[in-house]
């Protein structure tokens, strides 16, 4: 290339295009090549296949249940991060923070509602999604392991919901977690120890609140993100969504 192409004037003239191309990693191509690059040139979208089978797009096949679970998770992350700005995991303050969300923070009550209802919905939709996968026989080879990852996702979803349940520190939260942790204590031999580990003591108190908080806002969400990434990537690697054999 001639030196002129690197001149300042030329660089400024090309600025928008160069910035766009450096971000999207995409040069011009045929329309189909560009559409393909829109997917595989993007770290988030490349979990998708570049092309999908028409059967996967049929709403009456998946009812979008897995996607809805994922979108609820996204809403939960966004609303959860905002809630963290107002929440302190302390038995002295947690309940007051809830009241402040309701009466002091603008739209605080809507934020809290959105987080709570999405959480319930995510449990329900992950379960419904599992039913869809079962009734369409989509766990058969080569998708066995993705089913296993799905079961782990369901368990993590339940744990996320359960750990979040304690955080408002009201009577509902306190006694629900007391009941839940007592069930764990029925395990033979290790039951009492498991409950102690879970609560950081023999009953639900400050240590339990802190443990549930850390699990709820840090550890479990990270595990979920990793599992979801593997889940989606496996769908592509397993040849897209299941479909009738002779189709």
């Amino acid at each position: 290339m001639s030196e002129a192409a690197y001149s300042l004037k030329e660089s400024i003239r090309q600025l928008p295009r160069n910035i766009k191309e450096s971000v999207s990693r995409r040069g011009a191509g045929t329309p189909d090549q560009e559409r393909a690059a829109a997917i595989f040139g993007n770290i988030f979208l490349h979990l998708h296949p570049v092309r999908v089978h028409v059967n996967s797009l049929r709403l009456s096949y998946t009812f979008g249940l897995g996607l809805i679970s994922f979108f609820l998770f996204l809403i939960l992350v966004a609303s959860g991060v905002l809630l963290m700005f107002y929440y302190t995991p302390s038995t002295q303050l947690a309940y007051r923070n809830m009241k402040d969300l309701e009466y002091v923070v603008s739209y605080g009550v809507v934020l809290r509602n959105a987080h709570r209802w999405s959480a319930h919905a995510m449990v329900a939709f992950a379960f419904l999604h599992m039913c869809r996968v079962f009734y369409t026989g989509s766990y058969k080879a080569p998708r066995e392991f993705n089913w296993v990852i799905g079961v782990c996702l369901l368990l993590v979803t339940l744990l996320l919901s359960f750990t979040g349940y304690l955080l408002p520190w009201d009577q509902l939260a306190f006694w629900a977690i007391t009941v839940g942790s007592n069930i764990a204590a029925y395990m033979p031999w290790i039951g009492e120890k498991v409950r102690f580990l879970m609560l950081g003591g023999n009953e639900v108190g400050q240590m339990a609140l802190l443990r549930f908080y850390v699990l709820h806002v840090a550890l479990l969400p990270v595990i979920t993100v990793i599992l979801v990434a593997v889940h989606f990537w496996r769908i592509r690697k397993d040849g897209g969504l299941s479909r009738p054999l002779n189709d």
């Binding site: 979208l45 998708h48 006694w175 629900a176």
Partner: protein
């Protein structure tokens, strides 16, 4: 026959080789829009649908959140237990089982459920009926799973709505 000439030029036939270039297909890609496999480009066909579904979910959640408030009871008090004390709804079915037998209902049943789910794809390996809702080839599997789902739902409904103080039977209107 320009095709053949082009083919020979790119990949001349060699009698010593067992493979050769069979044909050159003109087009944007080797599957122009709707290929023989019935596939479509993810962008835009899939992505646009995903975006619409996201908007729908978002609107429903915001709508519900504007109308219904999440419950918030009195501050936690370790000295005054609520009666009954209920687990969150997704565990209330297990709690119902616990009321019959703590060990069988609280430990054995959940463990059996989780283990069966984990091992299911390794035990039911017949590929027949994949990709079809309620395939007639999988009548027994469908039946067993439906029994499981309905049992879970009934247990949750009982635990949630007809259990009152001391886990006694209470009708919701009582």
């Amino acid at each position: 026959m320009q095709q053949v000439a082009k083919r020979e030029e790119i990949f001349p036939r060699d009698p010593n080789k067992t493979y050769s270039l069979m044909a050159i297909v003109e087009g944007d890609s080797f599957q122009v829009e709707r290929g023989p496999d019935d596939t479509l480009q993810s962008w835009p066909h899939l992505m646009v649908r995903e975006l619409l579904l996201f908007l729908l979910v978002f609107i429903v959640i915001v709508g519900v959140s504007l109308v219904f408030n999440a419950p918030l009871e009195e501050p936690a008090n370790a000295l005054h237990s609520t009666n009954p004390a209920k687990a969150p709804w997704y565990f209330v079915g297990i709690q119902e089982l616990v009321s019959y037998s703590a060990f069988l209902g609280g430990i054995v049943a959940p463990a059996v459920i989780v283990l069966s789910l984990l091992f299911l794809p390794y035990l039911d390996r017949n590929p027949k009926g994949t990709g079809v809702w309620f395939s007639p080839d999988r009548k027994i599997a469908t039946l067993l799973f439906t029994v499981f789902v309905i049992a879970m739902i009934i247990l949750i409904l009982i635990g949630q709505f007809v259990r009152g103080p001391n886990w006694g039977l209470y009708w919701p209107w009582a």
